[in-house]
């Protein structure tokens, strides 16, 4: 798995070793499909997931909350079973052999981060997940939410989750040629990257990975007919990227390796 991707081989190797030590088998760590290949630096900005790792070591059943907007709900997918959380469930279930992985999908299409943050707190209080996957940013960019306001919402929620000892993965904005030069879009993306690196939170660089794939391989397309939302394959790649980043970062130490270059 690690040989296929350029990038933090040491980190990946370390995590594979630790995975083996905690019962998950290294050979089951997810490999990327041919259509979803992208450099590791474009897939994620790494950060440790100590609480999720502890939960995996302590329990046979882990709960993951996938919350966000249309990309979480699965707009553009042919059915609910092709949304990214559903596909991620299958991948993680295989990769973390012996664990029962429960993923709850709480995507509400077209929602801005401040509303999602309100729902997130309710869900966390009631369901007590071990890991939160928060997909965000696109609607704030398009609703022209000022980046400083967006930043305050995201930072206060991350702080709250940290105090609650729950790891969070930020899943960034999608790539679409239409908005690749939109100022708000770029600003929100930069803000998200900055928050993730300053808060030492795992950040899935969807924009970069999708852009890489779109430029490297014209076909088959990952986009649905509106040229904005993903299709089944797009969600497959999104799930694979998140799965790989989560597994690779499960046992990373507190030190943040210098990977990737800017947002």
């Amino acid at each position: 798995m690690a040989r296929k991707i350029a990038g933090p081989l040491v980190v990946a190797g370390l995590s594979v070793g630790l995975l083996a030590a905690t019962g998950a088998r290294a050979e089951d760590a997810p490999a990327l499909s041919a259509q979803c290949q992208a450099p590791a630096g474009d897939i994620a900005a790494p950060a440790p997931l100590p609480n999720f790792a502890a939960a995996l070591a302590a329990r046979k059943k882990v709960r993951v909350l996938a919350i966000g907007s249309s990309s979480t709900y699965g707009i553009g997918a042919s059915s609910k079973s092709r949304s990214y959380p559903a596909q991620l469930h299958d991948i993680l279930q295989k990769a973390l052999a012996g664990e029962d992985v429960d993923i709850v999908n709480r995507g509400v299409s077209g929602e801005v981060a401040s509303t999602t943050a309100e729902r997130l707190r309710s869900e966390v209080a009631i369901d007590r997940p071990d890991l939160v996957l928060w997909q965000l940013g696109t609607n704030d960019a398009l609703s022209r939410v000022p980046p400083d306001q967006f930043e305050q919402t995201v930072r206060s929620t991350i702080g709250w989750l940290k105090a609650d000892k729950i790891d969070v993965v930020l899943v960034g904005l999608q790539y679409t040629p239409k908005f690749s030069r939109d100022q708000n879009y770029t600003e929100i993306r930069d803000t998200l990257f900055k928050i993730a690196s300053e808060e030492n939170v795992l950040y899935i660089r969807r924009f970069d990975a999708m852009r890489f794939i779109a430029k490297a391989r014209a076909t088959p397309t990952m986009m649905s007919s509106d040229d904005f939302h993903l299709n089944d394959l797009g969600y497959r790649c999104m799930a694979e990227h998140i799965a790989q980043a989560v597994i690779a970062n499960l046992f990373v130490r507190r030190f943040r390796p210098a990977v990737g270059s800017g947002p």
Binding site: S69, S70, Y73, I75, G76, V104, N105, R106, G107, V108, S109, G110, E111, V112, S114, T115, E118, R119, R121, S122, V124, A125, I126, R128, N139, D140, L142, S143, R144, V145, P146, Q149, Q152, S156, W160, L161, A163, D164, K165, N184, S225, D226, D227, F228, H229
Partner: protein, 366 residues
């Protein structure tokens, strides 16, 4: 038409605040009450909806027959339901129209409208069952449920306001302890405003409006003491909101929802803080200076027609979001949005007033 009064004034205030808060990123959002309070205009709106229920039910001395009361309240529930369906359809058309006109089909996913177009069969059933609610269009579904059970509240209140207070409070506490809520469908999730929890603040509004017996009478007798006790709570709420601080589930004992600042389940902290704000600011209206009269008249006019104004404002806030997407935000653009919003809300209240005053319609009262 009623003269301006305190309840209509604050309802108008809540309507304007809700409009502003429903345009994400709007510059004026930072001046709304939720920046200095852990509760927001949703609590105020539902509390005052309960207060207004008292006017429909009438005083204990002049009892409306129970059957006519039940029909009247269920009729009101049906009217709110109709309003919800109507504004939902208009909002869907606004979203779809923008997607077509701007040739940007991705706009179809805004405001939780995505499933309506992608999973049309299931979601249409959900729209009619109120189990699918567009983003920000989630207060009226709560209001429909509350009004549908309002006959029970009214009858319990006639038996004893303390009985209603106790039963409503037990239901609220049980809901917080067990975390139950109505599900959303076909999108998996829960109602944004849990009716089992939010009924309590509606009932409290209804009970506080009663002057002769129950908690309302007691609160009036101890008003000065309550006001003094409430002041520190208001200050503490303001500090917590300003610091964007709220307790985490890990730091509190079970049942967690009791100790959090949860909006969906109306956690006690939010409720107590709201009631404290009401205790501190209640009565202030009577002492407003003369120069405030035009604002008072305007907000009271909105409050007198709150359902109509709410519906118009809901669609307007959606239109404002699309406008801000196309033309961008910023102080200048947002000032235009705010003034258009205030003008259209005022106009819709004025039209409602005019329609009521016209002789042909004088018998019906919205």
């Amino acid at each position: 038409m009623r003269r301006p009064n305190e309840v209509d004034f604050w309802r108008g205030f809540a309507l304007v605040t809700i409009f502003i808060n429903h345009v994400p990123g709007l510059f004026y959002e930072r001046f709304t009450s939720r920046n200095v309070s852990i509760s927001d205009s949703a609590e105020l709106f539902v509390f005052l909806a309960g207060w207004s229920l008292r006017y429909v039910v009438g005083p204990d001395s002049a009892k409306v027959p129970a059957t006519s009361l039940v029909f009247r309240l269920l009729g009101r529930a049906a009217q709110i339901y109709t309003a919800q369906i109507l504004i939902t359809m208009i909002a869907l058309a606004v979203i779809a129209g923008a997607a077509i006109w701007l040739e940007q089909p991705f706009l179809l996913d805004w405001h939780n409208a995505g499933p309506v177009f992608q999973d049309a069969a299931e979601t249409h059933v959900g729209l009619v069952l109120l189990s699918h609610q567009l983003g920000y269009f989630n207060i009226l579904p709560l209001y429909v449920v509350l009004m549908a059970v309002a006959p029970a509240f009214a009858i319990l209140d006639r038996i004893s306001p303390w009985l209603l207070f106790g039963l409503s409070g037990i239901l609220w506490a049980t809901t917080l302890a067990l975390g139950f809520n109505l599900p959303t469908w076909p999108v998996e999730g829960r109602w944004f405003f849990d009716p089992f929890a939010w009924q309590f603040i509606f009932v409290l509004g209804f009970l506080m409006a009663r002057t002769d017996a129950g908690p309302g009478a007691l609160a009036r007798r101890w008003r000065a003491v309550l006001r003094i006790a409430a002041a520190p709570v208001v200050v503490a709420g303001a500090i917590a909101a300003w610091l964007v601080w709220s307790p985490t589930p890990a730091s509190v004992p079970s049942p967690k929802l009791f100790f959090m600042f949860d909006k969906t389940y109306l956690s006690p902290a939010r409720l107590i803080q709201f009631l404290s704000v009401a205790a501190v600011f209640g009565g202030l209206w009577a002492r407003l200076p003369d120069w405030f009269a035009p604002v008072n008249a305007y907000l009271s006019m909105l409050g007198r027609h709150s359902l109509n104004v709410f519906c118009v404002a809901s669609v307007l806030s959606l239109a404002a979001q699309i406008g801000r997407y196309v033309y961008g935000g910023g102080i200048a653009a947002d000032t235009v949005v705010l003034w258009i919003g205030l003008a259209v809300m005022g106009y819709s209240a004025w039209i409602s007033e005019w329609r009521e005053r016209s002789p042909a319609r004088s018998s019906s009262r919205a």
